[in-house]
């Protein structure tokens, strides 16, 4: 089963939940950090990593003398990566989205292909032995989704390799990027089930409703975790999230209480599931509820509206 841990608002507690779930999950699993712009899962899982594998985008890098400056490449490019100054074509590979249109239309095949590094994917093992994989965008890189797709494909391969070696296919527990646009949706649509981590503040609630609008369109089973619940003076905020979930049939899988101790542990990079038996139990219960709520969602035909699920690897 491929489970995404997502939220609309940043800082709602995705990483915190994903890290502790990876720790207590009762079945074989792989921890995946798909928040490639700001990956933090490694801080909590302390993985030993293999060498990162860079991933590139094929971009136009140069022109041979065959170029007649006809401008066909410029005309097809929608990303301002190609310009023509007088009788000269100029390339701006940093702007390229890698659509390959320029190579396809050039009548002289005068463009040479180069590579722009998007970032890298690294595999390893968490300190407590669980397989781990993460992606990290190159600092300064604009495009996030292609690296994310590469990471998710690698995670799928890793799951299959583990399945061959151990008999059972591990579940993927995937820490997603924040927001509700391309990066978050790219990660979410590769999952079969998604946990929305809600922050019950006014900002958090607003972003949670946006996240619901985005994720409820996808063929996914959804559940909600209310983080920082029971904050002094915010009973109304908690209730607003609960009511929203009730009205939409979204199961509330856990309410994790706001505690200063927990916030401190988080700030130090410690796993909440390890700070006390009470916290460990909270995550064990959350895992059990998830397995119940998301039961069968990895079975063929369970949620498949258009064959999207089957395309991970």
């Amino acid at each position: 089963m491929r489970i995404a841990i997502a939220s609309g608002k940043g800082g709602a507690g995705k990483t915190c939940v994903a890290a502790s779930l990876s720790r207590v999950w009762p079945r074989p699993r792989i921890a995946v950090d798909a928040d490639v712009e700001a990956p933090n899962l490694h801080i909590f899982l302390q993985p030993v990593l293999d060498a990162p594998e860079p991933w590139h985008l094929a971009v136009p890098a140069g022109l041979t003398s065959a170029c007649t400056a006809c401008g066909a490449c410029r005309d097809i490019c929608r990303y301002s990566a190609i310009a023509r100054f007088g009788k000269k074509i100029k390339l701006f590979p940093d702007m390229c989205h890698g659509c390959g249109g320029c190579f396809a239309v050039c009548p002289e095949q005068a463009l040479t292909e180069g590579k722009r590094e998007l970032g890298s994917v690294a595999r390893g093992k968490a300190a407590f032995g669980v397989p781990y994989i993460e992606g990290a965008t190159r600092v300064g890189e604009v495009m996030t989704p292609p690296l994310l797709r590469r990471l998710l494909a690698c995670a799928g391969e890793m799951a299959q390799a583990n399945a061959r070696a151990q008999g059972a296919e591990p579940d993927l527990i995937c820490d997603c990027p924040p927001g509700v646009s391309c990066p978050a949706v790219t990660a979410a649509r590769h999952a079969q089930a998604l946990v929305m981590v809600a922050d019950p503040t006014p900002f958090g609630f607003h972003d949670f409703t946006l996240a619901w609008q985005a994720f409820s369109q996808l063929p996914l089973k959804l559940g909600c975790v209310i983080n920082r619940a029971a904050m002094p003076g915010n009973a109304g905020g908690d209730e607003r999230v609960r009511a929203f979930c009730r009205e939409r049939g979204l199961p509330v899988l856990a309410e994790l209480p706001f505690e200063r101790e927990a916030a401190l542990a988080y700030s130090q990079g410690r796993l909440l599931a390890d700070i006390s038996p009470a916290w460990r139990q909270r995550f064990e219960e959350l895992a059990a509820r998830m397995l119940e709520a998301f039961r069968n969602c990895d079975q063929a035909g369970c949620l498949d509206k258009g064959g999207r699920h089957a395309r991970l690897s």
Binding site: G140, G179, D199, F203, S267
Partner: protein, 307 residues
């Protein structure tokens, strides 16, 4: 005051308090135009209660659509698509809209001209009046893309508003991360103001976004929010700033006044208290910074050359 400046509030990690601090600054600023560049999940309007003066559709993100009648199933579109967005099912081809990057290559090269390329409504944007002045803001349709382009639209308009009003400050609330919307937000900014939290995650993500600022030669000023949560980590930020040449503006302790103000739809600086005075001090320091001088201190490389 040293002329017009464009300040973009960033963080790297999400949830550090960008929007709350930005709202607090908006309440203190005189002659400022405010712009919410977190078009994906904008929150500033919750505190600023804007009254739109004008609202526009944001069109963009064209998506390919295959006309099944005209299609002869040659499969060229699938061959050409580098985003895996053309799916073959039972001998016919269709476009997976979410995977479609909107490059238009399939449309341009389809031998049957069987592919349409309609523009999609990706969101709306408004210029609004608020009690703190003009706010330029937007809402991307959840699940839509092109947030970078929408950020550019907002910035262009906000700059025009600032010029029209003779505002000396354009105050922008940015988004988390280091990708397309953040880079679009930073483009042309005088100064990035990072609101960070004293956690290992916060420290890690700040260094990444500061790296982006370095590449684009934008000076960075740092505010540690909820600093008393982990004074040791807060101290790390202070050291990092002096090592890297960022301006350290100060610390804001955790204060229930923040969430309380938010619940009431107020900026925290609309009430008085110790935390408010601290924020005012930080704001004054921010205004006293000379971005040009800060930029001069940086020795960062320009954009990394391509391999």
């Amino acid at each position: 005051m040293r002329g017009f400046r464009e300040i973009v509030v960033i963080s790297g990690k999400g949830g550090t308090g960008k929007t709350s601090v930005c709202a607090a600054f908006a309440a203190l600023a005189r002659k400022a135009v405010v712009c919410d560049l977190d078009v994906d999940v904008p929150d500033l309007h919750i505190v600023l209660s804007p009254t739109p003066r004008e609202t526009h559709d944001f069109l963009g993100g064209n998506k390919a659509v295959i006309d099944q009648q005209a299609c002869v199933q040659c499969g060229q579109c699938r061959e050409l698509c580098r985003f895996g967005a053309v799916l073959e099912r039972d001998g016919s081809f269709e476009v997976d809209t979410l995977a479609c990057e909107g490059c238009g290559v399939c449309q341009t090269l389809c031998p049957q001209q069987a592919i349409a390329f309609p523009e999609a409504l990706c969101g709306t944007w408004s210029v609004s009046a608020t009690r703190f002045g003009t706010l330029v803001h937007a809402q991307l349709v959840p699940g839509q893309e092109n947030s970078g382009k929408l950020v550019q639209v907002l910035k262009t308009r906000a700059r025009e508003e600032a010029e029209k009003e003779g505002a000396s400050i354009l105050l922008c609330d940015g988004s988390p991360g280091i990708g397309c919307p953040v880079i679009a937000s930073l483009s042309g900014a005088s100064l990035a103001c990072a609101v960070v939290e004293p956690t290992l995650s916060g420290l890690h993500d700040f260094q990444r976004v500061a790296g982006v600022c370095r590449q684009f030669r934008i000076p960075v000023a740092v505010i540690v929010n909820r600093a008393d949560l982990n004074p040791e980590a807060a101290g790390e930020f202070r050291k990092l700033c002096s090592r890297e040449g960022h301006a350290f503006l100060g610390e804001i302790p955790f204060d229930p006044a923040f969430p309380q103000a938010c619940v009431q739809g107020l900026a925290v600086t609309e009430r008085d208290g110790p935390c408010q005075r601290r924020i005012r001090q930080i704001w004054d320091r921010l205004l006293a910074l000379d971005p040009a001088a800060l930029r001069g201190q940086r020795q960062g490389p320009l954009l990394k050359p391509l391999s």
